[in-house]
Symmetry: C2
């Protein structure tokens, strides 16, 4: 096959190739629960339904850039580091046409993102994951993200993404408990976490509670 | 925006949407080394270069179905379970046009796949990962797969995918050593693996070696 005929072949394929979107699962902890950012769709299909923020991937942007664009366009937020989650390609997941979605997720402390503007808002993952009226297969994507995070929290540092740079041990333990959905024994938790954290010379202040030591994530030297 | 105008909008987008491929990283252990299945490209671009088996995703097939089609079309093999690895969307990774690749990987015992037909053949991952003349970004995809497997072997059962249903402990240890790239202490290895395996009532036979006990993966009841 020569140069010209293979180009013709691909030009033919242009007409029946799938579209590609990027969809974001932005998670935070608020009011003691894992919450996910959703936007209310202004357009067909699923107009008026809640959906993950997402955009069609342009030919001149990488997937990561599309994720960044989806974030800023739908929420006004920027500079959040997303990791790729999974790519969804079931037939009929979008009623318009064949659409493949590359999903991304990020875990961010509530303080950093407490004021997304425009039409985005946080909802408890528990409700969103079981909701039957989310747009597309987005409830499934949220369930998948929750499962990935539950698996990763035991052998990675992702829990630290949900607290500030400095935290107390009760705060950190609460993050683990919320993600895992079970209470943990304080002594066991502290033993397991010991070699990932280091103490600072600061204490919490406040009238209500006894002062707590403040810790930070240990950085390997 | 009404039904008609949003459909027109998407029809316009048809012309500049990316293409999507599925690329497979099929790994096995042969001659004491992790090896990857590659095919020699018969067409532009990268004609004559080695590449991962792959196909363009059709509008009427899921990503998993495309993976299955890539496998059978390029190798004649079938029925191998692939897991999704990562989706690659760098600009210019394909010189023809914008192509996004959803990569998959599988670990399969050599006995199951020793005779792929057509143009596919196994090459040591060590060489393929560092080769500068593989097609597209396929060397990078192979490095990513190797890294994923190195990480997963410690906390999952994936090593069992590279041995038969029944195996000796030296065989299983060898799989870990090849993936991790380091020798392991026999006693430590056996302690770590103990609760994932169960002994059968069989022994290996043969003149050259002392008989070894045969084990199998423990199935949770």
């Amino acid at each position: 096959m020569d140069e010209t005929s293979y180009l013709q072949q691909y030009r033919k394929e242009d007409y029946d190739r799938p579209s590609v979107t990027v969809d974001l699962v932005l998670l935070t902890i608020r009011d003691g629960a894992l919450q996910v950012l959703l936007t209310r769709r202004q357009e067909h299909p699923f107009r008026g339904k809640l959906a993950l923020p997402g955009v069609f991937v342009g030919t001149d942007e990488t997937l990561d850039e599309a994720a960044e664009r989806a974030l800023s366009r739908k929420t006004g937020l920027s500079g959040i580091y997303f990791e790729q989650l999974y790519t969804w390609g079931a037939l009929g997941r979008d009623p318009r046409m064949r659409v493949i979605s590359v999903s991304y997720y990020a875990l961010v402390p509530w303080e950093k993102i407490s004021h997304p503007n425009r039409e985005a808002e946080f909802y408890p993952v528990q409700e969103a994951a079981d909701a039957s009226d989310l747009a597309f297969d987005h409830a499934q994507i949220i369930r998948y993200a929750r499962e990935r995070i539950r698996n990763k929290i035991s052998y990675t540092d992702i829990a630290f993404s949900l607290v500030g740079e400095e935290f107390t041990l009760p705060e950190l333990q609460k993050v683990y408990e919320i993600i895992l959905g079970v209470p943990l024994y304080k002594a066991n938790f502290r033993k397991k976490i010991a070699d990932r954290i280091e103490v600072t010379d600061k204490m919490t202040t406040g009238d209500k509670h006894r002062p707590s030591r403040i810790y930070r994530k240990k950085h390997l030297t």
